[in-house]
Amino acid sequence: MSEIKWPYANEFGQEETIESDVLILGGGIAGCFAAISAARRGKKVVVVEKGATIRSGSAGTGFDHWESACTNPCSRVTSKDIAEAYVDEQDHLSNGIMHYITCEEGWDRLCDLEEMGGKIRDTEDEFVGADFRDDETKLMFAYDYGSRFTLRVWGKTFKPALFKEMKRLGVTVCDYTEATSLLTTEENGKKRGIGAIGMDTHTGKIRVFKSKATVLCMSRPARLWLFSPDLPGLSEFRPLNSIGSGDAMGWRAGMEFTMMEKSVRAEFSAAGSSFPPYAAGNNHNTWYACTMVDSRGVEIPYLDRDGNVLKTVKERYYPVEGQKFFLKGGVIDEPKYEYRGPETMPFDELMKRGYKLPFYADMSRMPKLERDVIWGMMIGNEGKTAIPVLQYFNNKGFDPAKKAMQVYGTGWQSASFSDDERQFFGAPGGIMHDWDLKTNIDGIYAAGDQLFGSDCAGTAAATGYYAARKASAYTDTVELVEVNRADIDAEIERLYAPMYNETGYSWKELNSAVCKCMKNYCGAIKNEALLLQGLDLLKSYREEIVPELCCHNPHELVRTHEVLDIMDVAEIVLNSCLMRKSSSKTLNFVRSDYPEMDPVEDHHFITIRQENGVPVRGDVELDYFGDLKTEYEKRNQDYINGGKK
């Protein structure tokens, strides 16, 4: 391939210092709301984003469900109902604080979005008269039309609106800047965050961010087990550059994590095993509750939780008599009876009864408004569907009133993976925190996908706003601190190192090796000997391969540091797996050397952090957050009494 001219400036070796009260790392939904929250409190705010904030992050091009909006005017449940249900559903290995904040404040964030120009209601009266629409408020509901706590929203409109509002409030946005490490200092024997270092992904320039408080709003980890060197952008469900750098830099700084031993059998990788998300026929999430047929055209029955066949489409959206609500959505797989909603007949039973593959999602048999809301509104706003699914398939001649979309595999993930191919899905582990969403390091807070057990854009918005509220209050008690020059120099040396090698290994070769290591030594069935082998192999990569990594431009350098971050996260995962000496159904965690499932003495959070290069274990009781409503209200009287703006 012929060389092309690098279009950006060469600023390797250059450095600038940027000061703020509140520093936000990551400009997705959580980061934008964190920035707006702190700016509204009069703070000087800086956002550091690896992509371009206007469309970056997992929900940058959209999302369709806003879960747990319990305080919306049409809701028939309380925050206590839903937050406690989620905690119970996950056997208390669940983030109650995050759930309660999402339930209690999510609707306020939607109102913010509406004021900024985001669309949260059917203002064009497209769906008048639909069962899922309240004709007075024009709000639209999903899943459970009876309890009305999950809203259908036009998430495609949200990121540009948030970006505009941040600019209006005077937030400094550093796009195409990769945050690479946290800066800390020791004060009275305790660690405190004082900023971060970043690198311009186009020019190589170093940015030193000095701050009074920092909010981590980056992604959950990815690409630990799944990697395609040919189509790396499709390796995972979330964006290519969302790979858990926040976790990695937290780990290097001594941050505490929990539930990092939890992973599930992979569900998405359009680099081979599955189709583009939401592009294959199915009946979950965005496609709920699509009519499904087999290859003969025989309709696949939906059942209520007691196994009774539902006769109408409408019945798929209501709890059974005597049930207050049911749970569906991103982290709900096979819910407990109490929270279980309608579902199609189990796959094995369908096979037994002679239903013929392949199956199809057939919206042509649905009432018009139910069809139009799935194909057009939901597919059109969810994740990356507006262009790659809705526009793409419409252009290819797909008409939901006349055509049927094929279903692949047996579930909504449209693929078959081996048990050893894992993914962080279904409320995975993350950063441990208190009721202020503060990490174990003073001055550093976390939100969105960085929090353990979190999921969904509503959580990102609510916790981003909340964390920055608490971080802003903290900034009133501290001053900016001079950064130790030696810390900056050491980080620059680490960052630039692969640029000095003329030849050597590529980031793709190393990422492939890390994933193979994880599949072999940290797959579905774990045991001590294999986990130690995994750590040993990673150590050899650090000693022998990492010094030989080679890059030719800032773009490759960014990708290379992503893989180094993936290695750090792999180390957290392997060590966390070693610490839990039993198996756990809730955590999808199987140890062949400790097969006992969920013994009482281990049924709690195990935390992990690094101190002087050695992993340190902690044990935290379930429900450490106390009674959710009481504890939330105790700490948020200012917000409850007029502080929502």
Partner: protein, 97 residues
């Protein structure tokens, strides 16, 4: 510094062709390159030319480039052949189930 003064780059091909420009429509404004998640597009150094799809394999197929493009039809997103879901005419319900 050994290599810092010498940034080199060339297109890294892959098995797919995710982003296709219509040169008759593109006005070369560079908006697509400035909003790409994965930074897979490099702005052209020739004024008025569309960006170079430098790292097509790193495309996440989110469509941000198409969404933000000021000219309809100037950019098209195309899935790898293996990812083009099959759809059929809706199958009528059999009379005898």
């Amino acid at each position: 510094m050994k290599k810092m003064n010498d940034i080199t780059v060339s297109v890294v091909p892959c098995s797919a062709n995710p982003i296709i420009f219509d040169e008759t429509k593109c006005i070369g404004c560079g908006t697509c390159a400035s909003v790409c998640h994965g930074d897979v597009l490099l702005p052209s150094t020739e004024p008025g030319q569309h960006p170079i799809v430098c790292w097509p394999g790193e495309c996440w197929y989110c469509g941000a480039c198409v969404l933000q493009c000021p000219v309809e039809g100037a950019i098209r997103l195309e899935h790898p052949i293996m990812n083009r879901t099959k759809f059929v005419d809706a199958i009528p319900e059999p009379e005898d189930k």
